[in-house]
Amino acid sequence: MFEQSISTLAQKLRNKDISSVELTRLFLARIAKLDPQLNSYITVSEQRALEQAATADALIQNGKGTSLTGIPIAHKDLFCTEGTLTTCGSKMLNNFIPPYESTVTSRIQQAGAVMLGKTNMDEFAMGSSNENSFYGAVKNPWNLDMVPGGSSGGSAAAIAAGLAVAATGTDTGGSIRQPASFCGITGLKPTYGRVSRFGMIAYASSLDQGGPMAKSAEDCAHLMQAMAGFDEKDSTSADTPSEDYLANLNAPLTGLKIGLPKEYFGEGLDSQVADIIMAAVKEFEKLGATVKEISLPNLQLSIPSYYVIAPSEASSNLSRFDGVRFGHRCDDPKDLLDMYMRSRAEGFGTEVQKRIMVGTYALSEGYYDAYYLKAQKIRRLIKEDFVKALDEVDVIMGPVAPTTAFGLGSKTSDPVAMYLEDIYTLSVNLAGIPAMSVPAGFANGMPVGLQVMGNYFAEAKLLNVAHQYQQNTDWHLQTPTMAKGA
């Protein structure tokens, strides 16, 4: 039952083969049994889940609801959920009970989905391995010695292990796509502004974007139906109508023009990963697509540009954690300054403090032009590369990450080793375009994700491309051994 798609489960719920309460209990039991090995949840909201399931059952009984009604899902612990602990993976927020609901979780709730709980993540979404969580590292269900990727590692691991049908994630520099790749699931980072940021705890506001994570592209499309769309509460929400993400899933790919950026296949890319990506591209050719080599010449510069812009915006966003209105406050502050300095030093972990300081430095007097402004100029060059390429091709394909999941603790000593892992994902956020990770094979027993990038607001196209691939392959249907133990 835990391996079924949203469409199948929705049909079973309508047919009364199973009730949402039964389905929810099944997932809660799986979490209780298997999550101690993975640590993918920070909070399991059993009571809220069972109440929502009962409500969903009543709706279904009356012939109402959507395809998400009664489906048990999880939310990354970065989306504010009214009345349910929201930590953002940080000690700073270990007692924060939001007084309001994020737009994303609110819309998914209105569609009738059941929230099983809140998933683990790198603190304030800063990390590519989920080792930066105050609540402990998450393990990869395919190999418990490996990282699940980050920052949405809890969501990815939970889906892969069958501890949620689907989940939300957020992607500032790859945080949906890279864990999706490492855990063998499907994830979509939408166009910047497509999904509301209201109630998402901010990391880097000009890059942050929420999106769906699930077993398949079709399941992601079901979530997008509920999540996407204009929101007046988000000042950078895109004021363009959202599409029907399910309508064109079955459109044939005949004549699809695929671009392969040569910079994505250069030095540093694991040869087995490269082979798997090229095999996936061949599969698309069989489906009628044509392939041409393209160039994104400024790819290398996405690392320095991102690691100036994101920390700069973070240093500004995270100034709200001052120990006054919410969050951690130190004991016995001697004055206001002492309270700020010690509350923040105690509440934030090392990686968060590091990025706050990098950003503070980049924005400080005398350095602003050389760092922040320079990084924004390079950001335009990176965007222009994509605009030019997407004039010639419909989608761009390449790897999500240079390797499969790496070992826990293997990249924590060098302060920039992990940053270099983000080489294939950062530029998408800088440009603001949508991109997916689609399971495409295994190297040494670990999943490999194919990255599919598209033009602004081309989410429906990307989902169509991924769905057609998944109709002809079964990489997305593989289940790790540990998930079969319950």
Binding site: S206, R325, R344, Q353, R379
Partner: protein, 95 residues
């Protein structure tokens, strides 16, 4: 690009982060590494390139200047570390 320990303490103060001597040593190393990594930007010619701050180049949307929020004082105070008489409590600011 490397920075010294004094720079680290200055940045930490601007960021309102209390660092111990041992912390400062560690961050001196890690911040220097990050700054070296981003240094490669300086060799790129960006003359005449406009900085990009919003990927969609949207301008700020304006709204009517009317009250849209209800008063939820108690709900917002509920998360505060210390409150008194409906107010956030902080250490004494003025003697």
């Amino acid at each position: 690009m490397s920075i010294d320990k004094q720079d680290v303490q200055k940045i930490a103060h601007l960021a309102r982060l209390a660092l111990t001597e041992a912390d400062a040593d560690q961050y001196q190393h890690s911040l220097s590494s990050v700054l070296s990594l981003v240094e490669q930007m300086q060799s790129v010619d960006t003359d005449g390139v406009e900085p990009l701050s919003n990927p969609l180049e949207m301008t700020q949307r304006l709204r009517e200047d009317i009250v849209t929020e209800e008063n939820r004082r108690d709900a917002f105070l509920a998360n505060a570390p210390q409150t008194e008489a409906g107010l956030f409590l902080v250490p004494k600011v003025i003697d």
